[in-house]
């Protein structure tokens, strides 16, 4: 097997194109797992997914099974789902509440904070062995929580979380501050689905305005306008929808704001809407926001970004109101976890509309995601051909693009700058300047 040296990796990414091996080569994927997913902050979940003491959930972080739990004192922990005795996973339920995790193999027991609580027939061990040996479930090397968003790292050697998130912290704040209580709640479960394609195909798609009117043409009606997706609650909740003419490229799309920051983070500005939010439910929301934030209410209620994409694997979708986690399974398989978020304290009708919107657009049957996934799978298959080695990402190269992974940049429209910014970060992580 070839092993990619730094020069070979660097050669995969050029200013306006990337080599197909960037997406399809299993060796490259293994290096990504080590140098990107193994070394920077990853998203694992939101604390509101384990609201009560004793609550837990199981998930994976960079392919490794983990447990996120809340102990009897309310503290949240993230630990590897692996018995410290012989290696068995100690819990396979997706979520639940427990005081202790018991290994099925020899009934070793761990408290819900991960601490070792005992092994049967301890006399079989040398005196003091079980006390001396470190037998607690092993915690992820680093964990940080910001406004309920739980981050972990597989290495202790990671940049400071504030430095890593940089201006993207404002995007988390902006989402939480739309709630009158300043909190979001992941209280409706999750969707999980997967597609047979590389993780970066989706990451790069998320600031790709260019594809919307083509990939998603079937979500428009004869006039080229977006279908409604929320069902009856939409009007009731005073929710607005994406402005007309999804089906063709016009000035509206070219003016659309895009941007990004150091470390590969990117975002897409808010789509133009067909009307202002209004109605009795919206008025109630506005009143509660004014009560909570005073003069700041209007500012907090204004959604400025459609989505915020945090490198390497998750995003906040502000308008559709969910967290999207993109977990790489293998070079050609990616699993999505969609976590809808409720704005705590906002009218229930708004939450119902948001929940229905998530069902209709981002569930496994979602009318938006299914066409996206189709395209990513087709890309991955097409890239396997010997046709040509390069994928062209030159759109917007004729315009000023100040992104160099040293600071922030602004771009607009159908430019492929978002993908290029992620790729600059990729080079730095893979070649040692991350």
């Amino acid at each position: 097997m070839t092993s990619y040296d730094t020069n070979a990796l660097r050669g995969l990414v050029q200013s306006d194109r990337v080599h197909k091996d960037f997406y399809i080569n299993p060796d490259v994927f293994d290096i990504e797992m080590e140098r990107i997913f193994g070394r920077i902050w990853l998203f694992v979940g939101h604390t509101s997914q384990v609201p009560n003491n004793g609550d837990y959930l199981t998930t994976t972080v960079a392919r490794q099974p983990v447990i996120m739990s809340r102990d009897r004192n309310g503290k949240v922990h993230v630990m590897f789902n692996r018995c410290t005795h012989r290696g068995s996973q100690v819990c396979l339920e997706q979520f639940g509440n427990t005081k202790r995790f018991e290994c099925p193999y020899h009934a070793w027991v761990f408290n819900n904070d991960g601490s070792f609580a005992g092994a049967p027939y301890p006399k079989g061990y040398a005196d003091g062995f079980l006390d001396k040996e470190k037998l607690d479930l092993v915690k992820l090397p680093r964990m940080e929580i910001y406004r309920g968003f739980v981050f972990v790292s597989l290495s202790t050697d990671v940049p400071d979380i504030d430095e890593f998130l940089g201006p993207m912290k404002d995007h988390i704040d902006a989402f939480c501050d739309r709630s009158p209580e300043g909190e979001v709640e992941a209280c409706a479960g999750v969707f999980r689905y997967r597609y047979d394609g590389n993780w970066k195909l989706q990451m790069e798609n998320q600031t790709d305005v260019y594809h919307i009117m083509f990939t998603h043409v079937s979500t428009t009606d004869e006039d080229g306008k977006q279908f409604r997706r929320e069902g009856a609650e939409e009007d009731e909740a005073g929710k607005v929808k994406v402005l007309a003419k999804n089906s063709r490229l016009d000035d509206q799309w070219e003016e659309h704001p895009l941007g990004g920051h150091r470390h590969g983070h990117v975002y897409m500005g808010r789509f133009a809407m067909d009307k202002k939010n209004s109605g009795p439910v919206y008025d109630r929301y506005k009143a509660s926001m004014e009560k909570a934030y005073g003069d700041q209410a209007e500012e907090n209620m204004t959604v400025r970004t459609h989505n915020s994409i945090f490198y390497p694997h998750w995003s906040i979708q502000h308008l559709s109101q969910h967290i999207r986690v993109m977990n790489p399974i293998s070079v050609d398989c990616t699993e999505n976890i969609i976590i809808p978020l409720k704005l705590k304290g906002a009218p229930e009708e708004m939450w119902h509309a948001a929940l229905r919107s998530n069902n209709n657009s981002h569930s496994p049957s979602g009318m938006v995601m299914s066409d996206d996934m189709e395209v990513w799978v087709r890309c991955h298959e097409g890239l396997k051909t010997q046709s040509t080695d390069w994928v062209i990402l030159a759109r917007g190269m004729n315009e000023k693009f100040s992104g160099d992974n040293t600071g922030s940049y602004e771009s607009h429209g159908t430019s492929e700058s978002g993908a290029r910014n992620q790729q600059l970060a990729w080079i730095d992580y893979m070649c040692g300047q991350g």
């Binding site: 997706q94 409706a188 479960g189 999750v190 969707f191 999980r192 689905y193 997967r194 597609y195 990939t215 043409v217 079937s218 979500t219 009606d221 279908f227 409604r228 997706r229 069902g231 009856a232 699993e335 969609i338 809808p340 939450w351 119902h352 929940l355 229905r356 998530n358 069902n359 209709n360 569930s363 496994p364 049957s365 979602g366 009318m367 995601m369 299914s370 066409d371 996934m373 189709e374 395209v375």
Partner: protein
């Protein structure tokens, strides 16, 4: 009665297999809905996410999308076969003019050299009308409802 119900349920799923989506939608009452929960034992579609929770309006959106010439996720289209069996009338459901029917439902789907098999329990709430049955709601509880899915297009 059971024979009429069987006939109705067989036709209901046949409309999906034959991609007669508009006719399928028209089986539902105006306030009818189609629900596929994403977790077992759900009682309220506003408490948790759903794989499908379509009122007539969303159904029409979804199904007119299925007829769109550029629905990429269905080019080429899926072929499906739905299998309904173990049909039982709920004796405990005692509402005048309504019949609650339980059944088991399977759907085989074939697209792009891949065959997928779904299965679960279905419930139909039928309204007796002068012109036969109307569907007030259909609910499908898949055995893999909280599992990992590939994209879905055709209702179960």
């Amino acid at each position: 009665m059971l024979a009429d119900i069987e006939k109705y349920l067989y036709r209901e799923v046949r409309l999906l297999d034959e991609r007669r989506f508009e006719e399928w939608t028209d089986l539902f009452t105006e306030d009818g809905y189609y629900w596929v929960p994403a977790y077992p034992n759900q009682t309220d579609p506003y408490k948790a996410v759903s794989i499908f929770f379509d009122d007539r309006q969303v159904m029409r959106t979804r199904l007119s999308r299925l007829d769109h010439p550029n629905i990429h996720a269905q080019k080429p289209p899926s072929r499906t076969v739905h299998i309904v069996s173990n049909i039982e009338i709920d004796e405990k459901h005692d509402v005048e003019g309504e019949i609650l029917v339980h059944s088991t439902l399977q759907m085989m789907e074939f697209r792009l050299d891949k065959q997928t098999h779904y299965g679960g329990r279905a419930q139909h709430l039928l309204l007796k009308t002068d012109d036969g049955f109307m569907l007030k709601w259909k609910r499908v509880d898949l055995i893999n409802c909280d599992g990992v899915f590939e994209p879905l297009a055709i209702p179960f």
